[in-house]
C-alpha cells in the first residue's frame, strides 16, 4: 500500500467500540475513505462512515484484543496504491503489501498484525532510458522514459495525472530508485517513477471505444463459441468444483494480454501458492518468457481479514489501469467476485445498514457495475490505446444463478460462461454449458477471425452451433425412446455432436499440450469434424448403414488432435481427413 510519505500522522481519536473488523472512534478528525491507524498496534483501516462525532472504520487486520480507549490516528489520505516499476512478478495482499516482504519483516510464515510495507521497493534501482529530450513539451500522461521492468515488459514512466505538464529542462538516462527524480520540468516540477493513486477512483482516459479484437484464450470453447474482446467483460458463475478457478488460471496463462492482474479474492491459500509455483516455470505463449514476468498477483485468501477482501478488487483494477495507461492490453481476473460482495455484506451488516436482497447492501448493484465499468478499450490521455478486460468468477450459493450477485453481474457483463455441475461430474471439462453461455462480442470480433484465422470462421462456428442445438433436441427424444428408435440420419447427427463435444469442446487444462490451443488449431479440429459430417452424410445417402459409418477406424483419432503437439497437428489433421474420406468412400 502507499506509504503516504508527505502526510503527517496526527493522534486525534479514541476507540469507542470494537466488533470484529468494524471499529468506531470518537473525536477523530478524518474524511470519508481516509486511511487510519487503529489501536496501540497501529492496525490499518479505512473510514467508511461518519456520523456526528463518531467515525466508523473497517480494519484490514484482525482486531482480537483491541480495546475501547486505544488511540486512532488518521493519515488524512485515502486508500491508495503505489504505482511504478516492480509490481510485476510480485504478490500482494488486499492493500498492496508485498507478501514476500511481509514474510521477511514478520520472520514467520504466519501473518502478524501491524506491519506495513510499501507497494514497490523504494531501495531498488532501475535502468531509466529517456523517451523525450530536454526542450520537449510534455503533458500529463506522456511517457518521459522507459525502464525494463521484466524481460517481457518495458515499464513506461509517465507524467502523473495531477501534473500541469511543461517543458522538460533536465532528463538523462541512468540508474534511479523510484523516488529519485528522473525528469524536471520548467515549472520546477520533478518527475519520479513512483506515483500514488486512490484505489476507489478511476484513472482518467480520453475515450472508451468499441472493442474489435478478441482476447484469445487458447481455450477452444471460448475462442470458438464464446469469445471475449480485448476490453470486454466476462463472468464465470458456477457451483464449487465446476471449474471457475481452473478457467481463470488458464486465461491468466494463455490469454494474449500484455499484462495479467490476478486477484484471489476470498479463496484458497493453496490456489495462490499454485500460481506462485507454476507461473515462473511456464512460458508465455506469445513471448516465451516466464509468465510471471507479465503477472501481478493479489491475494486475500478466505481466512485473511474480510475488510481487505473488499479492497483487493480495487487495488487490482487500479494497477490494471496504470498499465493500461502505458498502452498495454491488460487482463484482470477476480476469483471470486462473490467473496467481495459478501465482504460488503458483512461490513454493511455490522454497520446495521438496511439490508437489501438476501442481506446484501442496497448499493451492491451499483458497486458491481462501477467496477466492471473500469474495463474497456480506451484511448488514453497520452494518445496511446490500451485495454482492460475483466473476467469475474461468481460463486452462487447452492449453484443457483438466480441469486443477487449472479443476477446483478449478468446485467453488466457481455460474456457469460455458465459452468455446469452435471458436466463437471462426468469430467467434461471445461464444464461450460454451451446452451446457456453467450458472448455479445461475437459479431464484432468475426472480422478479426476472418482476417487472422480463416475466412469461413463464422460459418463453421454456425454449423457447430446448429449441430449442437439439434443434438440437444434429439437427446430429449433419446431419453424417452432410446437411440436405436431414431432414424439413421438423426443417429448420425448424434455421433457428429458427440465428436464436437469430446474432440472439440472438451479440453484438458492439465495436459501439457491440450491446455493451450491456438485459434488455428481450434479451427482445424472443428474442420475435421465437419469433414467427417459431410462425408458421412454422403455415405448415408448412398445407403451405407450408420453403424458401418461410425465404425471406421480413422474416426476415434479425432479425439487425439487436442493432445497432438501444435507443430504436428496440421499433418495429423490432414491424415485423419484423408483417411476418413477414403474409408467412408470405400463403403459405397
Amino acid at each position: 500500500m502507499s506509504q503516504a510519505t508527505d502526510t503527517t500522522v496526527r493522534e486525534d481519536g479514541v476507540i469507542e467500540s470494537v466488533s470484529g473488523p468494524v471499529v468506531t472512534a470518537r473525536d477523530l478528525d478524518a474524511k470519508m475513505n481516509d486511511v487510519v491507524y487503529v489501536g496501540d498496534e497501529g492496525l490499518m483501516g479505512e473510514v467508511i462512515e461518519i456520523e456526528g462525532n463518531i467515525t466508523t472504520i473497517q480494519v484490514y487486520e484482525e482486531t482480537s484484543g483491541v480495546s475501547p480507549g486505544e488511540p486512532v490516528e488518521s493519515t488524512g489520505a485515502p486508500l491508495s496504491v503505489d504505482l511504478g516499476p516492480g509490481m510485476l512478478d510480485t504478490i500482494y495482499d488486499g492493500v498492496q503489501r508485498p507478501l514476500e516482504v511481509l514474510e521477511e519483516k514478520m520472520g514467520s510464515a504466519f501473518l502478524d498484525r501491524g506491519v506495513d510495507a510499501p507497494g514497490i521497493d523504494l531501495g531498488r534501482t532501475w535502468e531509466f532510458e529517456p523517451e523525450v529530450e530536454e526542450g520537449d513539451d510534455v503533458e500529463t500522461g506522456d511517457v518521459v522514459g522507459t525502464v525494463p521492468e521484466t524481460a517481457s515488459i518495458d515499464h513506461k514512466v509517465m507524467v502523473p495525472p495531477d501534473s500541469e505538464g511543461g517543458e522538460v529542462v533536465a532528463i538523462e538516462s541512468g540508474n534511479f530508485t523510484v523516488e529519485e527524480t528522473v525528469a524536471e520540468l520548467d515549472s520546477g516540477e520533478e518527475i519520479q517513477m513512483r506515483q500514488e493513486w486512490p484505489v476507489r477512483q478511476e484513472r482518467p482516459t480520453v475515450d472508451k471505444q468499441t472493442p474489435t479484437e478478441p482476447l484469445t484464450s487458447g481455450q477452444r470453447i471460448l475462442d470458438g463459441l464464446f469469445p471475449l474482446a480485448k476490453g470486454g467483460t466476462a463472468a464465470i458463475p458456477g457451483p464449487f468444483g465446476s471449474g471457475k478457478t481452473v478457467t481463470q488460471q488458464s486465461l491468466a496463462k494463455f490469454a494474449d494480454a500484455d499484462i495479467v492482474v490476478y486477484i484471489g479474492c476470498g479463496e484458497r491459500g493453496n490456489e495462490m501458492t499454485e500460481v506462485i509455483d507454476d507461473f515462473p516455470e511456464l512460458p508465455d505463449p506469445q513471448t516465451g518468457n516466464p509468465l510471471m514476468d507479465r503477472t501481478c498477483l493479489i491475494a486475500n485468501t478466505s481466512n485473511m481479514p474480510v475488510a481487505a477482501r473488499e479492497s483487493c478488487v480495487y487495488t487490482g483494477i487500479t494497477i490494471a489501469e496504470y498499465y493500461r495507461d502505458m498502452g498495454y492490453d491488460v487482463a484482470l481476473m477476480a476469483d471470486s467476485t462473490s467473496r467481495w460482495a459478501e465482504a460488503m455484506r458483512e461490513i454493511s451488516s455490522r454497520l446495521e445498514e438496511m439490508p437489501g436482497e438476501e442481506g446484501y447492501p442496497a448499493y451492491l448493484a451499483a458497486r458491481l457495475s462501477a467496477f466492471y465499468e473500469r474495463a474497456g478499450y480506451f484511448e488514453n490521455i497520452n494518445g496511446t490505446e490500451g485495454s482492460i478486460s475483466v473476467i469475474g468468477a461468481v460463486s452462487p450459493p447452492g449453484g443457483d444463478f438466480s441469486e443477487p450477485v449472479t443476477q446483478n453481474t449478468l446485467r453488466i457483463v457481455k460474456t457469460f460462461w455458465a459452468l455446469d455441475s452435471d458436466l463437471a461430474e462426468r469430467r467434461h471439462f471445461p464444464a461450460i454449458n454451451w446452451n446457456d453461455s453467450y458472448s455479445l462480442y461475437r459479431d464484432q470480433l468475426d472480422p478479426w477471425f476472418a482476417e487472422n484465422v480463416a475466412d469461413d470462421w463464422a460459418e463453421q462456428r454456425q454449423w457447430a452451433i446448429d449441430t449442437l442445438d439439434e443434438d440437444g433436441e434429439l437427446q430429449e427424444v433419446v431419453q424417452l425412446v432410446g437411440k436405436d428408435a431414431l432414424p439413421e440420419d438423426q443417429q448420425l447427427t448424434l455421433e457428429v455432436a458427440r465428436y464436437l463435444k469430446e474432440a472439440w469442446l472438451q479440453q484438458n487444462a492439465l495436459h501439457e499440450v491440450d491446455r493451450y490451443c491456438p485459434p488455428e488449431k481450434t479451427y482445424r479440429i472443428l474442420g475435421a469434424i465437419k469433414t467427417f459430417n459431410d462425408e458421412a452424410f454422403d455415405a448415408l445417402d448412398a445407403g451405407v448403414p450408420v453403424d458401418e459409418i461410425t465404425d471406421i477406424d480413422a474416426l476415434p483419432r479425432l479425439n487425439r488432435i487436442g493432445t497432438t503437439p501444435d507443430d504436428e497437428a496440421d499433418d495429423f489433421v490432414d491424415d485423419i481427413e484423408s483417411d476418413m474420406t477414403e474409408q467412408l468412400r470405400s463403403l459405397y
Binding site: 484484543g65 480495546s67 480507549g69 510464515a109 504466519f110 502478524d112 499454485e274 461430474e425 467434461h428 487425439r560
Partner: protein, 468 residues
C-alpha cells in the same frame, strides 16, 4: 483484574455487562455464579461502557449477581508434545485422569493466517487403501478433504479406515521414519459415536499418538465454537513446531454451524441463507484454511472434517460453504449404502482438487490420471443409461448402451465395494480399474493414452479367439 457485578442482561448464550474500564475484543471472561461455579466466555462486542459476552458453557445458573472477571487476554491453548495420548474436553481440560499438563507454550487459538507466499503446495500422495479415494479422489498431505455424509450413513467407519490405513508409500520405500499424529475434535456427537472412535483408537494403539478433544451432544453448544480451534492450535504446534504429519478429524461440522447460528440469533444479527450467519463462510474458512504445508518446515496438517448434510441436501449452506473452501469433498451416498456397498462413496459428486499434482509417473503411476478420468466418464454414462433403461427397457438399448450398464454395475461392486478392513495398494486399485475398463470397446477409451491402452487393456476372450 477488575471484578464486575454489573450484568445487565442475559439472553440465550449471551451476557451483557456494564464496564468502566476498556475491555479487548475477543478477550476471555470468567463468570462466577452464586453457587461458586465458574463459566468461561469471550467478548463479542466491546464499547467503552458495556460488552457482550458469549458464554461457552451455557448461561444456566448465571444471574445478575454473578461476578464477571475479564482476564485481559484472548483464548489460549496450552501446547506441548505431551498432549499426545491425552483426552480433553471441548474446552481443553483433561478428562482422562492423567497427570497435569505442563505446557511448553500457550498459544492464541484464533490462529494467524498462513501467508500464501510461505505455503508449500501439497503434493505427497497419501495412500488410504480405499480405491474410490486413491484411484479417483486422491488425498495428498496437507489437503483439507471433508466427508459429506448424512445421518445414518457410515462416515465414521470411512474416517476410521482412512486414519488406520493412511500411509505415504514413497517415504516407506525410502525408509524415512515420519512422525504421524492424529487430532480428533468431536463437536456435539453422541457418546456412542465417540466410543466408536475411542475404541478403534485404543484397539489399534493409535491413541498414543493422538490428542482427543471431546464436546459431546450433551455438552454446551457454544463450546463447540472453540473446540475445533483448540484442536487446530494443537495441530499447528505439532506440525510446524515439532515436525509431525498431523491428520485432523473434525466431526460433526454441522453441529458447529448450528452453534454459530444459535449465537447469531441471540445477537439478533441479520441472518444469511437459512438463518445461518452471513459471516459463516469466513468463519469456516478460518478453520479449514488451517491445513497445509509451509516452506522449509517438515510437518503438515491434513484435515478430514465430517459433516452431515441436513436432508441429504448438498446445496444446504453447510456443505455448500464448506465445498467452496475445502480442496474437494468425498460424498457418502445413501443409495449405494442401501445396496450394501462399503464404503458407499459416490465418486461423481466427489472431487479432490489436489489430485493432479500428487499422481502420475514417479508418484503413483503414469496411467493414473487417464484411468481416473475414463472411469468417471464411463460411470457417468452408465448412470445415464440406468435412467433410460427404466423407461425403455434393456432390449431397446444398443449394444454400446448395454455395455455401459454392465460397466456401472461392475464398477460399484468391484471398485467401490471393498469393505472397511481391506487395504488396497494403489497398483491394485488401478489394475481393478483396467479390468473394468476392458469391459468397454477399446475405441471408447478416449481419456487414456494409447500407450497405456496397449499396456493395460485386456482384449476380451472372445476377441482373442477370433484374432487367433
Amino acid at each position: 483484574m477488575k471484578e464486575y457485578q454489573t450484568i445487565t442482561e442475559i439472553s440465550g448464550p449471551l451476557v451483557f455487562v456494564e464496564t468502566d474500564e476498556p475491555v479487548g475484543y475477543d478477550e476471555i471472561v470468567e463468570i462466577e455464579t452464586a453457587d461458586g461455579q465458574t463459566r468461561r466466555g469471550q467478548v463479542l462486542d466491546s464499547t467503552s461502557e458495556h460488552v457482550a459476552i458469549q458464554v461457552f458453557e451455557g448461561t444456566e445458573g448465571i444471574d445478575r449477581q454473578s461476578s464477571v472477571t475479564f482476564l485481559g487476554e484472548t483464548m489460549k491453548m496450552p501446547v506441548t508434545e505431551d498432549l499426545l495420548g491425552r483426552v480433553l474436553d471441548g474446552s481443553g481440560n483433561p478428562i482422562d485422569d492423567g497427570p497435569d499438563i505442563v505446557p511448553e507454550e500457550r498459544r492464541d487459538i484464533v490462529g494467524e493466517a498462513i501467508n500464501p507466499y510461505s505455503r508449500e503446495y501439497p503434493e505427497d500422495f497419501i495412500q488410504t487403501g480405499v480405491s474410490v479415494i486413491d484411484g479417483m479422489n486422491t488425498l495428498v498431505r496437507g489437503q483439507k478433504l471433508p466427508i459429506f455424509s448424512a445421518s445414518g450413513l457410515p462416515h465414521n467407519e470411512l474416517a476410521l479406515q482412512i486414519a488406520r490405513q493412511a500411509s505415504v508409500p514413497e517415504e516407506e520405500e525410502e525408509g524415512e521414519d515420519t512422525e504421524f499424529a492424529v487430532i480428533f475434535g468431536a463437536m456435539g456427537i453422541t457418546a456412542e459415536e465417540a466410543n466408536e472412535f475411542m475404541d478403534d483408537f485404543e484397539r489399534t494403539g493409535a491413541l498414543e499418538r493422538s490428542v482427543v478433544f471431546m464436546n459431546l451432544a450433551n455438552d454446551p453448544a457454544v463450546e463447540r465454537t472453540i473446540t475445533p480451534r483448540l484442536a487446530l492450535t494443537t495441530a499447528e504446534y505439532l506440525a510446524f513446531d515439532q515436525g509431525y504429519h498431523v491428520l485432523v478429524i473434525l466431526t460433526d461440522v454441522t453441529n458447529y454451524c448450528e452453534a454459530l447460528r444459535e449465537i447469531g440469533a441471540a445477537r439478533e444479527e441479520v441472518p444469511g441463507r437459512r438463518g445461518y450467519p452471513g459471516y459463516m463462510y469466513t468463519d469456516l474458512a478460518q478453520l479449514y484454511e488451517r491445513a497445509g504445508r509451509i516452506k522449509g518446515q517438515g510437518g503438515s496438517i491434513t484435515q478430514i472434517p465430517i459433516l452431515t448434510m441436513p436432508s441429504d441436501d448438498i446445496t444446504h449452506p453447510i456443505p455448500d460453504l464448506t465445498g467452496y473452501i475445502t480442496e474437494g469433498q468425498i460424498l457418502v451416498d445413501r443409495g449405494l449404502n442401501s445396496q450394501g456397498i462399503q464404503p458407499p462413496v459416490d465418486p461423481l459428486p466427489s472431487l479432490s482438487r489436489l489430485m493432479d499434482d500428487g499422481i502420475g509417473e514417479g508418484l503413483t503411476r503414469g496411467d493414473h490420471g487417464g484411468v481416473s478420468d475414463q472411469l468417471y466418464a464411463a460411470y457417468a454414462e452408465g448412470e445415464d443409461k440406468r435412467d433410460l433403461v427404466q423407461i425403455v427397457g434393456r432390449e431397446a438399448l444398443s449394444e454400446r448402451d448395454n455395455r455401459y450398464l454392465d460397466f456401472a454395475e461392475a464398477f460399484e461392486e468391484q471398485f467401490v465395494q471393498q469393505g472397511y478392513n481391506t487395504d488396497r495398494e494403489i497398483d491394485e486399485t488401478l489394475d481393478i480399474g483396467w479390468d473394468l475398463l476392458s469391459m468397454l470397446p477399446e475405441a471408447e477409451l478416449n481419456r487414456v493414452d494409447e500407450d497405456d491402452i496397449e499396456e493395460h487393456y485386456q482384449d476380451d476372450v472372445e476377441a482373442e479367439v477370433t484374432a487367433d
